[in-house]
Amino acid sequence: MDIEKRISDYIDALNEEREPEEKEEASPDLERLFKTIRLVRTLKEPAMPDPAYPQRLVKIVAGRLNGLQPGSCRSAKTGKEKAAPRRFGRRFWTPAAALAACLLLGFLLVTRAGLFKGDTVYAMEKAVARLAGYQGVLEIRSENAAGEVWLNCRVEIWSDSERYAVRQEDGTLTVNNGERKWQLSPQSKTVTVQPLLPDSMGFDLRDEAARARQYPHTIAGVDTVADRKATKLEITPPGGLAYYLWIDAETNLPVQLQTAMHNALQTTYTFVSFEPNATVDPRLFVYEVPEGYTVVESDPGVLVATVEEAAAISGLAPLLPREAPQRILAFPDRIVMDYGDTTIVELKATGVFEPEATAALGSAAGGPLEVCWERLRWRQEGLEIAVEGPQRLELARQLTADLTLPDPDADLTGKARVKVPVDYELARANQQQVDGGSSPWQLDPLQVALTFVNLLVTPEGITGEPQIAMTSFSPVANNGVEAVVAVDAGPVQYVYLKRLIRQDESGIWSVVGYDPR
C-alpha cells in the first residue's frame, strides 16, 4: 500500500480511538513516522472515559477480587460481561458478544469514524452564520464537586443580529440595541442605563461556534438535550480544561454548553426551547421609559465616532492600534475600544502597577506585562492598558513593539542555592484538592512562598499572624511554569517555585528551592 495512504490511515485510526490495523509489517522508516504521529498526539488531551466509568471500574475490580466471577470479567467500558478470561491469552466470542461488538462497531462508525466528525463544527459555523435571529429559553444550572445540581436561573432571550434582550424570571429585562444598553426592573420601577462595553451574554452562539472551531475538539457522543438529539463535542482549549458543547442534530446550532469544573463549580447553559430565525418584535429594542419608571444612569459611557471625541470626554491621550475598532466607548476616566471578541481598555495609570499574584509576567513598553487568562495588562505613556480576548496579542503588539511574553522555557529556578526536594505524589494530591475547591491559596505563588518561609521560621506551625507578613513578599519573575518571589525580611531572600503538575492558571505552585539571606 502507498506509504502516504498508510500514514493517513494510521492517523485516522488514532483519531477514531481505535487500534491502527496494519495489514503488512511496517518498515523501520514507516514505524519511525508512526512513532512521530503518536508523539505529536501526546500533546492532545486524552479522550477520557464517560463520567460513570470510575464507579463501574470499582464494581468490576471489586467483583473480580472477590472472586465472584471466576473465569469471566466485566468490561468497565460498557458494564457488560465479557466472556474473555484474559489469563489464557485468547478471546472467546459468543454470538451475543459478537452481536454486541457489531452494534458497538456500528455506533462507533456513526459517531466517531468521520461520518460527521469535523463536519459537525463546519455545519455549526454555517448554521450560526446563517442565523438572522432567534428566541429561546435558556436554563443555567450549576453543579458542585459533590455532584449537587441546582438551577441558577431561567431566562428568555431574543436575539436579532447584533441586538439582544434577556428577560429573567423576576421580569427584569436587559436590552442591548447596539447603541445603548439598559435594564428595566418592574419591581423597583427603574430603568438602569448601563455601559455598552464590555458586554457578555454568558452563552453566545457565535462565540461558542468560533471557539469550537479554533480549539482542538473531538466528538464525545450523541445525547438528548431538551428532547432533541444532539452531538456532544469535547473542546480542549490549549493548556486548559476540557468543556462540552452540544450541537442540535437538526438545526446544527449549539443547544447546551457545560463549562469545565472551576473552583469546584461547573455551569451548564441549556436552551430548553429554541426557535431559530424567529421574527423578533423590533419594538423590543426601542429605548423607552415606561410611565412611572425612573431612570438610573450607572456611568453608561458615550458611544463616540472618533478618537478625538473619546479623548475629549475621558481627558486621556489614548494609544491606538493600527487596526481601527468597531466601536469606541468613552467614559470620564477611561476609553473602551471594541474589536468584536476583544476589547481594549485604556485608563490613566495611578499608583504602583501591581500584577495579579496568579498572573505570569512578561514585559511591555519597558515595564512588567501581566498575562492572566485571556488578558494582557501593562502601562505605557501614563496609561494603563488592558487587552482582553482572543486577538489580545495581535492588538497589544500594535500598541507596543517591545512586548515580550513570558518564556515558559526560561530556567528561573535552576539558580536556587538550596534545592527543596519535590514530592510529585503529594503535589498531585494537593492539585486534586485544589481542583475540588480546597486550599485555593496554592494557586498563588506569593501565598505558597509565605507559607514555606514562615514554616522555616516556625517549623511547629503557623498560629495567628505569620511572622513574615505578606507585605514582605513580592513577585520577581513568573513565566507561568516557574516563578521567583523576593522576600525582604527573615532568613530567606528568594523563593523559587514551579507548577509541577499542571502548567496553566489552574495549576498549583510548589517550592523547589530558595536562597538564604
Binding site: E4, I7, T36, P46, V58, S75, G118, H217, D409
Partner: protein, 183 residues
C-alpha cells in the same frame, strides 16, 4: 490519600477500600496509560487489569502508601509491555523498549513535561503549512478531506505534505533524542 485498611477479602469495608483506592488514583493512572497507548478502550482495559493485579499484590504484601501510585504505574507498564509483546507475535510492531518499570514510573512526570516542551519546540521549526496540517490532522482530528478543504489543497497534496512534515519532524525529534523510549 490511599488507605489500604480493609483491603482483606471478606473483611468488612473491603469494597469500600477498593472504591477509595480506585477513585483516588484512576485518573492519573488512566492518563499515564493513555499517554502511551493512545486509545481509550485499550487504556480502560489496561487500567482494569492493573487494579486487579496491584490490589491482589497489596492484599499480601506491604507497599508504602506513598509508593502505591508508582507501584501501580509499574504494574500498568508491565501490562502494556505484555500486550505489545503479544501483538509482536501477531506481527504487529512493538512500541516499547525494554525499560525498568519502576524507574520509568518515577521519572514519568519530568519526562512528560520535558518531552512536551521539546516536541512543541520541534513543531515550531516546521513551516507554517506543515504545522497547520499536523495540527488539523493529529491534534484537532480532522479527516484528510476536511483538512484539504481547510487549507485549500487537494487531498493528495495534504497526504504528501503530511508525510513530508512527519519526516522532517522525525529528524528534528531524533536530534533531541525524543525518538528514544516509549510511546
Amino acid at each position: 490519600m490511599i488507605d489500604f485498611r480493609g483491603l482483606t477479602r471478606g473483611e468488612e469495608g473491603f469494597e469500600k477500600a477498593i472504591e477509595q483506592i480506585c477513585l483516588a488514583t484512576w485518573e492519573p493512572l488512566y492518563r499515564y496509560i493513555y499517554y502511551r497507548v493512545q486509545n481509550r478502550a485499550e487504556s480502560e482495559d489496561i487500567l482494569q487489569e492493573t487494579y486487579v493485579k496491584a490490589l491482589t499484590y497489596f492484599q499480601e504484601h506491604q507497599v508504602p502508601r506513598e509508593e502505591a501510585l508508582k507501584f501501580m504505574k509499574a504494574v500498568a507498564l508491565n501490562e502494556m509491555r505484555d500486550r505489545w509483546r503479544r501483538k509482536k507475535r501477531q506481527g504487529l510492531p512493538v512500541h516499547l523498549e525494554a525499560i525498568n518499570p519502576e524507574e520509568a514510573a518515577a521519572r514519568d512526570q519530568q519526562n512528560i513535561v520535558t518531552r512536551r516542551l521539546l516536541l512543541e519546540n520541534a513543531l515550531q521549526r516546521l513551516s507554517a503549512d506543515q504545522q497547520a496540517i499536523l495540527d488539523l490532522r493529529i491534534i484537532k482530528g480532522y479527516s484528510v478531506a476536511e483538512t484539504a478543504r481547510l487549507v485549500g489543497k487537494t487531498v493528495a497534496a495534504v497526504r504528501t505534505a503530511q508525510h513530508r512534515a512527519l519526516h522532517t519532524l522525525a529528524q528534528l525529534l531524533e536530534q533531541d533524542d525524543l525518538m528514544e523510549g516509549e510511546v
